[in-house]
Symmetry: C2
Subunit: 201 residues, 2 copies
């Protein structure tokens, strides 16, 4: 995207090593040596692929984004409500929850650096933009098929759901709180898109 | 709250100096010397009041919480919807937006440290707990007075609004994005609590 941030072609091995190093050391204390150690090669060998820690981390965010779009995607077929639920579940509950807790914490630290670094901010925005597109698409299909209320404001619904998923992520990482957010989002979808209370009686 | 985290009685001057130092240097690079400089006294004088940077920052979070409860409070009188709107506006839009942008960024960095430190987590939880209580109280009043839908689930509504406000904060700080979140939350309140679309036609 950005000429200044061009990095060597990432190799899967270095990305896996970065993943493990972030889980083990967190972001604040992470060094190129930590990543080289996880990769089981030398630090100069690592620097051959990535000049700087920043360049490596930007490549790692690209790598995570590819994984994210593989993992967090609305199913292509099925009723709109089931597709939307699957999308929300995937965005909320990553697989391998234990490892992911450490990665989520490290990524939250990366997020805290974003205000200071345009390239980080641009990478992080892609996750939200992608999620917004997916929600918009499923909700649009549901409105068209009649599964969701005909008067649904698709753009507002996408903004609300992506903001809720951001808030759930932030509360979970920073506070360790997971108090009924999934159920609340389900109730929001019921109320906002699906069953009107007066119709379900 | 926690015996281990007891700190000297904070003085307003040191809190103001900490505020300025955080805005100027950010959290990651903040030193006791930076705070002493803003306070225009010596570092030993600062250490006389606060043994450690951690202790000072915990006291600063207590100080911010007091300010927060003064600033972000639902008005006691008036229609429930106006009280709720005022509460949401206060939670979303702090005064002195420019200075606050720097403070918000620094506090987001503090938040990223919370997973590693129970005392930080406990302090940060208070902000959400307080906001949840305020929302719960205004929504409860509105349901009782008939301003909001009688079938409103107060607990779910409070969880959704506090999660939305967290998500708005996180997106604003990390991504610099402020794309229609306030309007989306207003539409949520309309749809979820207030005017049903079919009633307003």
């Amino acid at each position: 995207m950005n000429g200044d941030d061009s990095v060597s072609r990432p190799t899967d091995d270095i990305m896996c090593a970065t993943y493990r190093a972030l889980c083990r050391h967190g972001y604040a204390d992470l060094t190129m040596q930590d990543i080289a150690d996880e990769w089981e090669k030398s630090k100069p060998a690592l620097h051959y692929h990535y000049d700087t820690k920043r360049g490596l981390l930007l490549a790692f965010l690209d790598h995570l984004f590819t994984n994210y779009t593989d993992r967090v995607a609305a199913p292509e077929d099925g009723p709109a409500r089931e597709r939307l639920d699957a999308l929300i579940d995937a965005a909320l509950d990553p697989p391998r929850a234990d490892t992911h807790r450490e990665l989520r914490t490290a990524l939250f630290e990366v997020k805290a650096q974003a205000p200071h670094d345009e390239a980080f901010r641009e990478r992080l925005s892609r996750f939200d933009d992608y999620l917004t597109d997916e929600v918009r698409s499923v909700v649009g299909d549901g409105v068209e098929s009649g599964a969701f209320r005909a008067d649904t404001d698709i753009e507002t619904t996408a903004t609300l759901l992506v903001t809720l998923l951001n808030g759930a992520h932030s509360r979970r990482v920073a506070l360790g709180a997971d108090d009924g957010v999934r159920e609340a989002i389900r109730a929001f979808v019921d109320d906002h898109l699906g069953r009107r209370v007066d119709e379900s009686r």
